[in-house]
């Protein structure tokens, strides 16, 4: 019961925070709400027994990516942002669409039949510790995706410099 309560808290607060992020007029406020949101996501990961992911969420999202967001926002002209008209005026249509998609997802996923359990039960992970369990799988079974990920990171470096660096 207590655990359900916690999960409910995270779920409700995350939706509320997401709404705050997209409705604030001042983009800096949006980013700060997003910081709170990221911490809640990390909390949710903890409740799903994904400790390492929670740590990554805090280090990467709350740490690095949020700073990137802030810098990008400060590159924009905030005063104009605050006074400008909103991008999309037809919010009732958006709300209706969103709600219908929500209904659709609810009614389909509530019928989800879970597949067979894997080898990593809560006890198994507890015995092995999260990071070890993750590392063992990532660096043996998932070695190939891991190497492709490095290429994607390389592309990101190239992209940032090609598109944003002043050329002499």
């Amino acid at each position: 019961m207590l655990s359900k309560l916690f999960f409910g808290y995270f779920a409700v607060i995350m939706v509320a925070l997401s709404l705050l992020v997209i409705t604030r007029r001042n983009p800096v406020h949006s980013v700060l709400w997003m910081l709170v949101l990221f911490f809640h996501i990390a909390g949710l990961y903890l409740f799903l027994n994904a400790e390492f992911l929670a740590a990554v969420q805090v280090i990467l999202y709350a740490g690095a990516i949020l700073v990137l967001f802030l810098f990008v926002i400060m590159m924009l002209n905030i005063k104009v942002e605050i006074t400008a008209e909103r991008f999309i005026g037809e919010w009732p249509i958006g709300v209706a669409l969103g709600l219908s998609i929500l209904m659709l997802i609810y009614f389909t996923t509530s019928k989800l039949i879970q597949g067979p359990a894997g080898q990593f039960s809560i006890e198994a992970i507890k015995a092995e510790t999260h990071t070890k369990a993750l590392g063992k799988v990532l660096y043996t079974e998932y070695l190939f995706p891991f190497e492709i990920a490095s290429l994607i990171l390389l592309i990101a470096i190239v992209g940032a410099i090609v598109l944003a660096k002043k050329r002499g």
Binding site: T109, L112, P145, I148, G159
Partner: protein, 460 residues
Amino acid sequence: MNIPFPDLRPVTPEIIMTLSATALLILELIFKNKGVLAFIGILAAAAVMYIMPASMGETFGGMFISDSYSIFFKFIFIINLILTILISLRYIQRQKAEYGEYYSLLLFATAGMMLMASAKDLIILYLGLELMALSTYILAGIKRHDVKSNEAAIKYFLLGGFSSALLLYGISLLYGMTTTTDIYKIAEHLKATGVTTTLLLSMILIAVAFLFKIAAAPFHMWAPDVYEGAPTSITAFMSVGPKAAGFAVIGRVFYTAFQNIQTDWTTILIGIAILTMAVGNILAIVQTNIKRMLAYSSIAHAGYILLGIIAGTTEGLNAMMTYLFIYAFMNIGAFAIVIILDRGEELSDYEGLAKNRPLVAALMLVFMFSLTGIPPTAGFIAKFNLFTAVIKAGYTWLVIIAVMFSAISAYYYLRVVMNMYMKEMKQEAAIHLSPSLSLAILITVLMVLIIGIMPSMVIG
């Protein structure tokens, strides 16, 4: 722990491709002359093409598979890469976007497509898709000081991001149902559990992501703006490569993982195919910019090619692959003509071209005929082959619709020809000829004509 070293032979083409792309990135820092980089890029592509047939096999615990299906698609990607490099060489100089990274990114994008075609695991599939997509976003915006190019990159990036998110949601639902990401294991498991609404939702989400990549209606909105804004050489690249990669994935994932709901996805794809053909062909008529027109034309072609998937037979799949192969030549050929002209982006620029530049006009005529599907060009063979396969699968009514839309398409393709041959010349058309561009046009026009005359080369 004792882990067997993975068999690298099946991935050698991808390894060579990424190594060359990385090498180009370093060489870019050394060489001032970017033409050298283009040459190295072509050499790498040729090397990959040479060793590809020997790369059959599975590796990385069955995550990656190199079979005749993926190898055929990889041929299309590499042809696309080589032709794109050839048409870019002088063009990006003219556009003041001659960065060495350009070639490196082209190679990375191609490596991503190759991974997509070979993916047997949804994780590889997703990473390949992102590798391809991220490189293309950057390439679309590589004309940094051109507002339209920026707009193209941003639009493609935002919508591409949404489609990736949908794909991931679909994959996560699939994983929840089967607790595996291996496509064949998913198929096995789903056969045992039967059809659920969750399965349908996940199929639809995955379909949307790839229909976005192939620019099928109603997920085509980005295509005209992106195709118009991106540098023309990149437009040529995007209209063939990512599209073929999307079809490669649809062909593999839908035929294996979603085998037990084939009737469901066939029904959806029939609707999408008809809508795509209608939107592409009808909206192409009103375009005045040739790049936009070719964008709608590429949407329309995606509609035709979808029929090959709908057919649900090996013959249909083969016809789809042949179509994509031929489409690569005729489409890049048409874009090469747009590039050769100094001012060739508006339809009115083509008025009276036949009197001024008879050879250029004649070449454009060949490509336009081929895109319409008029014999004796390759485009006719592609369509004929595809439509026969679809009729054999029992969808005669669908082929009738497709032929009707093909007839409509003649209007806008032949309008270009009309402009060139029947209208008065307004001004002298200047052209920019370069050896590499001539070579690209020579290859494409020869392939279009040879396949058109001797179809046995690609069929069978």
